[in-house]
Amino acid sequence: MTENLPDHPDWLWAAAEPKRSYDVVIVGGGGHGLATAYYLAKNHGITNVAVLERGWLAGGNMARNTTIIRSNYLWDESAGIYEHALKLWEGLEDDLGYPLLFSQRGVLNLAHSLQDVRDSVRRVHANRLNGVDAEWLEPEQVKELCPIVDVSPDVRYPVLGATYQPRAGIAKHDYVAWGFARAAAAYGVDLIENCEVTGLDVRDGRVTGVRTTRGPIAAGKVALCAAGHSSVVAAMAGVALPLQSHPLQALVSELLEPVHPTVVMSNAVHVYVSQAHKGELVMGAGIDAANSYRQRGAFHIIERQMAAALELFPVFARAHVLRTWGGVVDVTPDASPIVGLTPVDDLYVNCGWGTGGFKATPGVGWCYAHTVAHGEPHPLSAPFSLDRFTTGALVDEHGAAAVAH
């Protein structure tokens, strides 16, 4: 018999009917949309808010991610917003009154080449200067922390060490989404499911409302949070976003006795793994190269990922894949998000979190709510403006951020 997961509360939220108008309409009821609604209400007292979700609430990437949370990003701008998020995570269960299974079990990012080592050490130094906990570990120390990692020289790309962020970890995604949803609903936010936004009304350069499959809704401000479909939605207001949407797949095994105490990520032998609270191994790797809006990918991506998993964790050989799935992730040219204003007045955009936006959920909700409430960017999200693709002030985390989850 295994440890039971904590129970969800007896009451979550009531399905709301759309009203004719709101002060703020949030498009997309994923983690980011829900967190934004919550902080709009909590931090800014704005509660005449609707979250419009075309399917079931938080059924997009929020329901599909592998829940890795960390803040050990390279650049100062990234460290700023992700570390803000991590600090919020550290108090979020109390804040939301919801058991989020937030577990700070640490994250290892493995290095497999001399260049990986250089990049990793560089990131550790950068993190420390930014107040982010980070350590460089030698292979034996990796083995001590996670004994099932094969650190022998026999693997194709031997483990030469790892960065370690002890405060990083995982949480339970549905619990997080529902925690925000429940708390937002309690403030009076309308959570409207099965309501797809099909058009944005723009008059004189200002957004005035949305068209939906459940009728038109007027809005003082519209905040986009549509993740993989952001470019589609923004195009409804004539705003072009520099995004490529790709499938990203993940999978789980059956429930297993504990073997994996932390989170291990590897870019060179591309896979990342944690063992969730119930006991299943949760794994992912890179995006499918083809563009797609379908929530499914190609099978060779999974096969490749399993080969990588067995390279690093030979004991996984006879575990079984129970379920694979895919989400649609929105990737920017510099692998950093876009949060802020758009050329259309009162229309705000939050997107481009690609393969790694779960960890940012509370942080981006906080900053984006501020941006929407004040009509100007929060200092922590200001570097992630849309116009950086014009000025060139990119925050390029591609080569820099180890695995991008």
């Binding site: 018999m1 295994t2 969800h8 509360p9 007896d10 009451w11 979550l12 399905a15 079931w56 059924g59 100062d76 497999h112 080449s113 260049q115 250089r118 050490v121 560089r122 550790v124 130094h125 950068a126 420390r128 200067l129 026999d154 693997v155 194709r156 499911e193 095994s253 059956e254 429930l255 297993l256 006795e257 073997v259 190609a298 099978f299 999974i302 096969e303 490749r304 399993m306 080969a307 067995l310 390279e311 004991v315 050989a317 006879r318 575990a319 079984h320 894949v321 129970l322 379920r323 694979t324 799935w325 040219p333 014009t390 000025t391 060139g392 002030a393 990119l394 591609h398 080569g399 820099a400």
Partner: protein
Amino acid sequence: MTSRPGEVVRFRFDGRDYEGRRGDTLAAALLANGVRRVSTSVQLGQPRGIFSAGGEEPNALVQIETPFPEPMLPATTVEICDGLVATGLPGKGRLADRPDPARYDTVHAHCDVLVVGAGPAGLMAAAEAARGGARVILADERPAPGGSLLGTAEAVDGLPGRRWAAERAAELDGLADVRVLCRTTVFGHYDDNYLVAVERRTNHLGAAAPATTARERIWRIRARRVVHATGAHERFPAFAGNDLPGVMLAGAARTYVNQYGVRPGRRAVVLTTNDTAYPAALDLAAAGIEIAAIVDVRQAPGEEWARRCAERGIDVLTGHVVTAARGAGELSSVVVAPEDGGQARDVPADLLLVSGGWTPVVHLFSQAGGTLRFDEEIGAFVPGDTQARDVRLAVEVAGSARGVPTLSGCLRDGAEAGRRALAAAGFAVPDQAPPPAVEDEPAAAPARHLWLVPAADGDGDDYREHFVDLQRDVTVADVLRATGAGLRSVEHVKRYTTAGTAHDQGRTSGLLTSAITAHALGLDVADLGVTTFRAPYAPVSFAALAGRDRGHLHDPVRVTAMHDWHVARGAPLENVGQWKRPWYYPLDGEDMTAAVLRECRAAREDVAMMDASTLGKIDVIGPDAAELLDRLYTNMMSTLPVGSIRYGVMCRPDGMVFDDGTVIRLAEDHFLATTTTGNAAAVLDWMEEWLQTEWPSLRVHCTSVTEQWATVALVGPRSREVLAGLAPGLDVGNASFPFMTWRDAEVAGIPARVCRISFSGELAYEINVRSWYGLALWEAVNAAGVTPYGTETMHVLRAEKGYPIIGQDTDGTVTPQDLGMAWVVSKKKADFIGKRSFSRADTVRPDRKQLVGLLPEDTGRLLPEGVHLVEPGGTRALGHVTSGYRSAALGRTFALALISGGRERVGERLHAAMGEEMIPVTVTHHVLYDPEGARRDG
């Protein structure tokens, strides 16, 4: 049944020894031995028995210990073998603590028609397709063909079903173009009829499995048409105590009796909503199991069944339900009551057969993108139109997988599906053959769809023993709690309750969960739908998916023609991309530092050689070759004369350096571009992407020729002299063979292309020969008294000259100007990739990070790469050390770094922040050695 026929197989379960028969599943063998409690439930810790006879098993999960530990398999799918040791599983499986010695592999297959499922419908479909001349693959997850016939023992064409199926399959397998795969589960149906299957090849052989045979094999099948003949799973209604060992699907009990000759109990009650439980009850009765009663929730069963039961003296209670199954740890009695209230009675029984109807196995169809529709008659979702708009699947569905209820119907339906597949695949369809004869097929009465037997009070708490998902211990009470919390979507209910997330992925429970949710919400289950079906259809081992892509086959190991020489010389190897490169060549007693200093000295003071074969080489040929290169490189390539060489840089559209290397012009329309070792494939992809998507009108072909050439770099003041000795026919004079030109020559008797280029600042040549001459050339050069050096020395030499390594001194955020290479960016060219970005606000910022040199004040102090620089007393990072070395030529340590406004800071004193320790350094120009370039010409 202690005297079952067949070969005896000995195994151990939960610490006790048992005997079974060859061909038994572990579940069958346990039942034959009277073992009814197999596992413990995951949340509640309750004993659980055997519920089904196939892969849909939700209860009887076991851990295999011997021959090799394997976590979590349904006892209903494990074939016993001598020496098998297994234990009942308490919710979690256990991984082995040692590496798996087995092999795994993968094959590709192509066919006209893939038939999934070798039951009656699948066999007929495959036979028809084969008869029409199609290449056919027929796959079934069980050890033998026959599907439902194995368990029902119905006769076809006068033969017992099992035999009929075996004969049909054998006939098919005898055909040249047909392949019959047993123990093969098709678990994924992807786009364009790409299907993946896993074949279990040796598990059933136990210790006798040949070590050379792959234990499991992944089949990657591309089929023109696919026939889904995947059958149906029996389901059960929710009632109190339906999780007790002894409660079993009716069809499963029938299978144990007919296929395995095993009696799963002594006295049975049957609860049913449809006619299919009747033949099950009759088969059990014929096998000597007492049928205490058939409890039929309908007002009347099929007449013929009623008659046969009467004949056998079996009590049929119509309009009744089972309100509870009772027992301490396993079933001992069943509470039966009229549905409309009235006196309940307790019927002693050790077996309760349940049938709530049959749910088509639509997983693969749904994975393929097919839409489902609710069929009122069978009370389940069935495949919808395959040709609906936006769907258009090259798929046929046949038999009970689309709700066909009878055996004769399935046989006919299978044949038709096979014929449709034939026609669609472009084959002439042969004349129809008479369908196989099925004799005993009584007319069926309509089924009733009962999902839930209400509890006495109908209160949430009274539903704590009405199980919905047996494996996740989810009850009706849990579902009601979810809907009570405000949830309206089955996906939410699934996540709230965890129903459907276990090993069986809700095969027996998915529809029930939806139905109960719909019931609670006052909706129709047809409108509410079910959760999404996803691959894999059945669990697949990680090892099978990894196949042979492990260890040294994980990623190709690329080595040069000289590799063995390097290894024989004791050079440690560095992984650079897929290549193994010699890092340095230690002499006896030398450590790395000493070896590298010695190698550097040889290159700067004498003559040295390096294996440069791994650099990417791309042949660019065609009338527009020069034009393509002009667009890709920041500098001008079209003006390069034939016979000359130019260094070039490629940027991304954002203006950031992406790769660098030399380009040599072999002819007017023929260039050879070199790339960095690790980036060669990416550069070729990059060229192709632009050619294919943006500039398809350019007449150019790009071909990787990296492996066709072996390259020896000959470096140092004495290199000209050595080359002259090796290539007497070559005029090596500085004027006749100037820097940045190439010549064809014979070197050591080998036809070669000699390029005069230098990555060290010294007089140097790169001698290129066909790969197969690589070692001969290398040995000849070495024999001339030349010191070999590895990648580390190469890095030091170039760093002394301030030459960046792309990917080490750059990270995708660095422009050529940042590297101090403004000269490589053409001012003349109208356009090239990256050009526009060079005028962007951020790209012209004066405080951009620029490549500089650093000299630690302590001349022996090596600066670790990755360390950040701050102003003395400051904490804000100005940049970081990208390269740090000991220099023999400078007689001290030095580093390269990217520093904000770096060129303006030359002469400034900064601190390298090593945690608490601050290492003082001075910023210098990035070229530290021979800044005048005096050494290039020797």
